[in-house]
Every structure is written in structure tokens, then in C-alpha cells.
């Protein structure tokens, strides 16, 4: 639907020497390269890459080099650092990584599933209480999850679920924003005629939902999944509050604890840095692979496709 052609770098005219700033770019000069805007964006990109480049370099250094050598000159200790990190308390670091993958993967999948059901119901049925449900949901979008963490802790403590996997997993399945998005995807991508046709063929509503609606909503549901995945992966306060046993920690809480110890044992800093690098890699790969799903038009509340 979008008619704007995207200025990808394909028409690159990079090799040309810098011309005067393109101030004459008025009539007929619409597509002439603007060096100013290209350079501003590249500076933005440089700013965003800087800490990532630094952690890549720093993770190649031994604990001593870290404080003495020039920051952006790589060393050859990456492998040693990884081995050392792996040996730290019997592979605790990799356990944190697995925990994170479990919390984020399972949590986001369940969240997308719950959101798909609820969003479909809100978009395609009319029933008593629909308007009220939707209003409550919208209000729920505004409730900061971080503020819920403490009462959630005390409620879960009463049923003995704190300091378990459930304590981190369960509270993050419900996502009002995910439901809101799923409702919009269902409204925009599932034609009523298809549902009607399915009914005429005698399919049950559940079957219509699973076989017809879910595939049509799939790109949107991937976006819901990604939002929740990143949200859970990023979440620090909830596991920080809920968990006492460091074998249940996700990577964020684990590295935070390691950094805390590092203030007294600076040798741990190189572990923290290597750990930070390794923990970023999966998410960065996930982002690059699934890039095209990140196009949510928050303002219009709909995904243009």
C-alpha cells in the first residue's frame, strides 16, 4: 500500500568526492544525493555502534589489559575469556542464558497465543461487555509493569511461587498491548467473508480461528511475539525482585550481580564484559533476521501491508 519508494543504499554514489552541500536541491533535484543528511544519519549510526564496537574489543582483553591498553585495540584473549566465563561457578553463565531464552521464548509464545485469541474475539465478535473489556485493556496498556512487580511478589509469595521459574514466567504472559495489537491485526487482515465461508462449510469457530485466522494474522503475531520477547529479555526489575537463587537468574540479573561483585574484585570485569558481548549476539541476530516485522504504526494503530 505504501507508495513511497525506500531509498536503500542501492543507488549509492559513494565514490564521488564531496560536493558542495546540496542547497540548490529544488526543482528537478529531488533525488540528488544530500551529503548532509547522509552524514547526519551515519553519525547517528556511529553513535549506536560505538558501545558495541567497544565491547567487541574489550572482550578480547585479559583482566589486566582492560585497564592499561588502548581501548579500541584488540587483544587475543577472547577465547580465554570465554573459557573462563564458562568455568565460572560450573557454567552458571550459560545457565543464565538458557534461563533467559526460556523466560523470553516460552513467555513470548504464550503471550502471543493469549493475545491472538483475545484480539480475535475483540475484533470479530460483538458481545456484551466488549466495549468495557477493550477500555479496561487500553487502561492496562498504561499500567507500568514495573509498578506491578512488588505486589506481584507479595501475592506470589503467599502461594509459595516466588523464587521459581513460574514467578518470572507467569506475570509476563498477559500483555494488554499485545492484545491491542492482535485486535488490530485481526480486524485488518482477516476478512469477515472468510469467516462466514468457513461457517457455511460447517467449521467450528476454534477451527476457523486456528486454520484461517491465525495464518492471516501471522505477521502481526510475530510482531507481538517479538515485542514481548524483547520486553521479557529486557526486564530487569521483575526477576530481580522475584528470584533469590542465582541458578534461576536471567542474564540481566546475573550480569548485574557479577558487576556488583566486580566493584570489589575487578578481575570479574573481563567476565562481565565477555558475558555482555555473548548475551547481545543472539538478540542482534534475531533482530537482523526478523527486521521486516518491526514496522508497527503506533499512531494509526495499524500495520500497513
Amino acid at each position: 500500500m505504501s507508495t513511497v519508494t525506500k531509498p536503500l543504499g542501492s543507488r549509492g554514489s559513494m565514490a564521488r568526492p564531496q560536493l558542495a552541500k546540496n542547497r540548490s536541491g529544488r526543482i528537478g533535484a529531488n533525488d540528488k544525493t544530500s551529503y548532509t543528511s547522509t552524514i547526519i544519519l551515519l553519525l547517528g549510526a556511529l553513535y549506536c555502534l560505538l558501545p558495541l564496537a567497544w565491547v567487541l574489543m574489550a572482550s578480547t582483553k585479559s583482566g589486566g589489559d582492560l585497564f592499561t591498553s588502548n581501548t579500541f585495540v584488540p587483544s587475543r584473549h577472547l577465547f580465554d575469556n570465554i573459557v573462563e566465563l564458562t568455568q565460572y561457578r560450573g557454567g552458571l553463565y550459560w545457565r543464565w542464558m538458557l534461563n533467559t531464552a526460556l523466560y523470553a521464548g516460552v513467555g513470548a509464545f504464550l503471550s502471543a497465543a493469549v493475545s491472538a485469541f483475545a484480539g480475535f474475539a475483540l475484533a470479530k465478535y460483538s458481545f456484551k461487555g466488549k466495549q468495557a473489556t477493550f477500555m479496561v485493556l487500553l487502561a492496562g496498556v498504561l499500567v507500568p509493569g514495573v509498578i506491578l512487580a512488588i505486589p506481584q511478589y507479595f501475592l506470589l509469595a503467599q502461594v509459595g511461587l516466588t523464587n521459581t521459574y513460574w514467578a518470572v514466567l507467569l506475570p509476563q504472559i498477559i500483555s494488554p498491548y499485545g492484545i491491542y495489537l492482535a485486535r488490530i491485526y485481526a480486524g485488518a487482515s482477516v476478512p469477515n467473508e472468510i469467516i462466514e465461508a468457513g461457517r457455511t462449510d460447517g467449521a467450528s469457530d476454534l477451527r476457523i480461528f486456528l486454520r484461517l485466522a491465525v495464518p492471516m494474522m501471522a505477521p502481526g503475531l510475530v510482531t507481538v511475539f517479538l515485542f514481548q520477547f524483547v520486553g521479557i529479555w529486557n526486564n530487569f526489575m521483575l526477576p530481580y525482585i522475584m528470584l533469590g537463587d542465582d541458578r534461576l537468574y536471567p542474564i540481566t540479573v546475573g550480569l548485574n550481580g557479577l558487576l556488583n561483585q566486580g566493584s570489589t574484585v575487578p578481575a570479574l570485569y573481563s567476565l562481565v564484559i565477555t558475558g555482555a558481548l555473548l548475551s547481545i549476539i543472539p538478540l542482534v541476530v534475531l533482530f537482523l533476521v526478523l527486521q521486516r516485522f518491526w514496522k508497527v504504526d503506533l499512531g494509526a494503530g495499524a500495520v500497513k501491508s
Partner: protein
């Protein structure tokens, strides 16, 4: 258009067969279908009640209570929970730690939100300009920090700030310049804002860019042919059209700002400039888990939540109007 699928035009419980036009078997199916949306909403509703509604109600109750210690405070009956009215709220508003943390977060928001939105908007407009080269590369790279959890980005920037490790200190030393300590009392707030900016600017940029791409080209192609500069087209046409997106990103940024917790908590071991009550949420954490004063922690939580709600009210109205517009079209 919607009438074919909107199965329940009548209130539930009323006999659908009473509709004279509906054939009998279809009516029977309709009656069964009335429960389908409720079944589909059941998992979400149950989770919502347990993990959102109940905690909110529980926090409200706790915030109106206090624990009274009787006698020497020994034995099981020595601590009693009593109704406290609004005394916890009154205490919060006269607590200098809380007021200081609220002031800090206010300043932090004033620094961060405008910087983030302006930068994201500039990037999005540049991406949308046909004259920008390497836009695809820049877009991906600027969005990349969104993939990095706040704790990890705080950790990376924390090391970049740390004088013994920082490349900037190496640089200023090499140039014989005084090296500023970004983690000092006065500037640590900028150091934290920079971390949040780094993590958030790309996301906001993508949101705005998506909105920009949805604008039909002919809306501004004519203006450009008439000789309007790109900047004029952006100010007069593009920005007004994507205003709802800008409002949304502003509100989301505000919500995130007021809950800042992970960044200062992660930087805390690296500097003495960050106290355990540096932000309101850090104070809530300290009250609840270090001082075991759940009641005042709850009151502070409610104050933060109400503030966020008040500030987000405009957003709710925008979304609501848009959502129902889309439904009715």
C-alpha cells in the same frame, strides 16, 4: 459489513430464535456461538485479573495500612496491621528522599524525552528523504541498540564512563585536556539519560519512519514540484500527518522515563553519585525489600502510577478515537 460476523446482535440470554428472519438451525448455532468470544477471552481475562487487577487492588489496600508495633515488638501478636488512612501518602509527600527522587526524574525526563523525540524525528525524516544514501544501513544500525537490554547497555556505557577503562579519558589524556568525570554528582543524570537515549532512539525512529512511509507520496510531491524545500515539506506536510505517532512515542517515552530503574541500579556499583533512592522506583524497591516497609512502598507506587496515568490520559484518548474509527470504517 460487520453484521454478517457479529453474531451476537442481541444481549446474551435472549433467545436468538425470536428473530423471525433467522432460520432455525442457524439460530441454534448462533446461540452456541455466543460463548465463543468469552472462551477466547478467558485466558487473557484470568491472567489480567491475577497479575494486573489483583496486584493493583492489593497495592491500594497496603498503601492504606500500616504496621503498629506494640510493647517491645516481640512475639507474634506484637505487630498489628491497622488502617492508616492516607498517612502513608502524606508521609511520602513530606519525605525529602522521595521529593528529591521525583525532582531528579522530572529533570531526567525533561532532558531525555525531547532529546529522544527530536533525534528520532530527524533520523526518521532523513531516512524518508530520497536524497539520503546508505539509509538502509543507518536504519538497521540505529535500531540495533533496541535489542540490547537496559542492564547490558548500562553496563557497556558504564565501562565507557569509568575513568580507568574509558576510551574518552584515553583520548582527552592524549590531547592533554582535562577529562570530565561523567559519573560525578552533577553529570550522572546526563550519563543515565544518554544510556536511555542510546537504547530508545532507534525504536522511536522506526515508529515514526513507518508512519512517514504510510503517507501517500502525491500528498507532498506536488509541493516539491512547486519548489518547496525538503525541510518545508517535512514541517508543513509530513510532521502534521504523523502527529499521532509523535504523541504516542512521546507518551511511551514518558512512561518509560518515570519508571527508570535498571540503568541507575546497574551504574550504582560504579559510582558514589547514585544513592539507593536515586529514582522513585529505586526508593520503592528499597522501602519494600530493604526496609521491609511495604506500606509506604505501596503508597509511593500508587503515586507513581497515578502520575503516569495522568500524563498518559491524552494518549488514551488518541488511541481510543483511532481504534474505533478503524472499526467503524
Amino acid at each position: 459489513m460487520t453484521t454478517t460476523v457479529d453474531v451476537d446482535q442481541t444481549a446474551p440470554g435472549r433467545d436468538p430464535a425470536a428473530k423471525p428472519s433467522a432460520p432455525a438451525p442457524r439460530a441454534a448455532r448462533r446461540h452456541r456461538l455466543n460463548f465463543t468470544p468469552y472462551a477466547m477471552l478467558a485466558p487473557a481475562t484470568i491472567l489480567f485479573l491475577i497479575f494486573m487487577a489483583a496486584p493493583i487492588v492489593y497495592t491500594l489496600i497496603l498503601s492504606l495500612q500500616k504496621t503498629e508495633v506494640q510493647g517491645l515488638g516481640l512475639g507474634s501478636g506484637a505487630r498489628k496491621t491497622v488502617f492508616a488512612g492516607f498517612s502513608n501518602y502524606a508521609a511520602a509527600f513530606s519525605d525529602s528522599d522521595f521529593l528529591a527522587s521525583a525532582g531528579r526524574v522530572g529533570l531526567y525526563g525533561l532532558i531525555l524525552v525531547p532529546a529522544m523525540l527530536v533525534l528520532a524525528l530527524v533520523f526518521a525524516l532523513l531516512l524518508d528523504s530520497k536524497r539520503t544514501r546508505l539509509a538502509g544501513f543507518s536504519r538497521v544500525v540505529i535500531f540495533l541498540p533496541y535489542a540490547v537490554p537496559a542492564v547490558i547497555s548500562s553496563l557497556l556505557w558504564g565501562f565507557l564512563y569509568l575513568p580507568s577503562v574509558s576510551p574518552f579519558v584515553d583520548l582527552t589524556t592524549a590531547l592533554n585536556l582535562p577529562s570530565p568525570d561523567v559519573l560525578s554528582q552533577g553529570s550522572v543524570i546526563f550519563a543515565i539519560a544518554n544510556i536511555a537515549l542510546w537504547g530508545g532512539v532507534g525504536f522511536n525512529m522506526v515508529v515514526m519512519y513507518t508512519a512517514l512511509k504510510a503517507i501517500p507520496t502525491d500528498l507532498y510531491e506536488a509541493a516539491r514540484l512547486d519548489g518547496a524545500s525538503e525541510i518545508r515539506v517535512a514541517l508543513a506536510i509530513k510532521i502534521p500527518i504523523i502527529l499521532p505517532s509523535l504523541i504516542m512515542t512521546a507518551i511511551f517515552s514518558l512512561i518509560a522515563t518515570l519508571q527508570v530503574f535498571a540503568e541507575p541500579t546497574t551504574l550504582k556499583p560504579l559510582t558514589n553519585s547514585i544513592s539507593s533512592t536515586y529514582t522513585p522506583l529505586m526508593k520503592v524497591y528499597r522501602d519494600a525489600f530493604i526496609r521491609n516497609d511495604v506500606n509506604s512502598a505501596s503508597a509511593t507506587s500508587i503515586i507513581i502510577a497515578v502520575t503516569i496515568f495522568a500524563l498518559s490520559f491524552a494518549f488514551l484518548r488518541v488511541v481510543q478515537r483511532r481504534a474505533f474509527q478503524e472499526e467503524n470504517s
